[in-house]
Amino acid sequence: MSDATLARSGQVPTRKVAFRGGGFRPVAKRGIGFVVFVALLLVIEWGTRAGWIGNLTLPRPSDVGQTLWALAESGQLWVHMQPSLTRLVVGSLLGVSLGVAVGVLIGLFSYARAGLVPLVAALFPIPKIALLPLFVIWFGIDEASKYALIALGTFTPTVVSTYGAVDNVDRTLIRMGQSFGLTWWSIVRKIVVPGALPGILSGLRVSLAIGIILLVAAEMLGAEYGIGAYILQAGSLYDLEKLFAGVVILSALGVLTSSGIGLIERRLLRWRA
């Protein structure tokens, strides 16, 4: 007879040990986000058709869809997208690459840290939009000032997340590199940067979202074409369908950059469990 049955045969109160582990570990559930999104749209569609959402409160999703479709068919969508995408790519590429470089410097050198951390802390909370007039004076009314605005806006969060990530690189790995006589440059390239990559990439999500916000702000203040200009036009005419069509494009852009980073993470960080 086994111990288990032995224990049961006695006349003692017997209970199963209740499960109390689990949780605190979200996993990716495919398609749930999409379902939530569609459900929300359906509710709004229903509300606007049934009348309990007034048509000045929210536009009908199907109307917004039609507006988007018309925009795409007329070719106007691309006319607005193309300059916006260029601004976002050029501006955030500048800001992010400079930000990573400065962040790594702050993470590695005491003087860079002492000198630059207060500066970054002072720059971070400034609403960059407020500086646009200044940028217009410095860089002119056209593209350069928009690039500069987006670059500055993505620069500060990238710096902060990068030097935090460098600080978190396991020092014993760096000592190991030194103990095998690796050059300073090798240690930075092969140990510090790969070790900081997870933190840098998750910081990038925030930086790029800020980039999109600033893109729209810059275009609202002075651009003929671009998603921001399109939204501004629609807003001043109280054309809610067009306004929301613009907003949908922005959200799509946000989802696209975020999932792009997710893709990079899955490729570059495969070494993590």
Partner: protein, 255 residues
């Protein structure tokens, strides 16, 4: 190549950690260092390998490192220190790349050291896929790849379970018998010290001083479990360590 430590003294922010340590490490011999927790063993090892500068005294390298030696003083760390984003082979090639060894030449070295540590099948595996014992064997393979003159091992087996520790100890002995290397082996474990050490330096509690150096004149390949001479040395070591530990306790009570 020989190493000599001359009157090493070291402080951390006013806290004396090591005091007047003089030791020599002859070629082809393993020096074990034991001592109570916090007496400065790891610090001493960092000083020997040049990862830190002593406040007083010096570490001298007598003679030239042997032909083909890429990194004379090479560490094996307690926590393995493998790059998690590089495969087993990549972790070894890491320490060859900076010496300009790439391609076929690097391949040959990697094959050789992996064979010597019985890891040939795991060249492409990532560290997270390996058990603790295998990770430490990778770290040993990496150390062997640079053909060190002196291996500096800081409790290399402490993070492993008892069985794995036994197996890896046998591996270390086999590596040494095939090709004797000089080594400094820091450990808490007296049994390890008597298995592997030609000489054993016992440090006192902090600040660490050399309390005694014990020579075991028994060839490594003849040291088996339950050997009378080893048991005798181990008992002696244990009485020394017990005195130190008890004295350390007493000091705490006095404060």
């Amino acid at each position: 190549m020989k190493l000599a430590l001359e009157q090493i003294t070291h402080h951390y922010a006013g806290l004396p950690v090591l005091e007047d340590i003089s030791l020599s490490i002859p070629a082809g011999e393993i020096l074990c260092i034991i001592g109570p927790s916090g007496c400065g063993k790891s610090t001493l090892l960092r000083l020997i390998g040049g990862l830190e500068r002593p406040d007083f005294g010096q570490v001298l390298q007598l003679g030239e490192p042997p032909e083909g030696c890429l990194n004379p003083l090479t560490y094996v760390f307690q926590d393995f220190a493998l790059l998690p984003w590089r495969s087993v082979g990549g972790n070894i090639s890491l320490v060859l790349e900076d010496h300009g060894i790439r391609g076929r030449q690097a391949d040959e070295i990697i094959e050789d050291v992996l064979a010597r540590t019985k890891l040939s099948d795991f060249r492409k595996a990532l560290p997270r896929q390996l058990s603790g014992g295998m990770k430490q064997r990778v770290a040993i393979a990496r150390a062997l790849a640079v053909k060190p003159a002196v291996m500096l091992l800081d409790e290399p087996l402490s993070a492993l379970d008892a069985q794995t520790r036994e197996l890896l100890m046998d591996d270390l002995l086999a590596l040494w018998t095939r090709q004797p290397f000089s080594g400094v082996y820091v450990t808490h474990n007296l049994a390890e010290a008597v298995r592997l050490g030609h000489r054993i330096a016992v440090l006192s509690r902090r600040p660490g001083k050399v309390r005694e150096i014990i020579e075991i004149d028994l060839p490594l390949e003849e040291r088996h479990h339950g050997h009378a001479r080893l048991d005798e040395v181990q008992a002696h070591l244990w009485s020394l360590m017990k005195q130190e530990a008890m004295a350390a306790d007493q000091e705490l009570l006095d404060v």
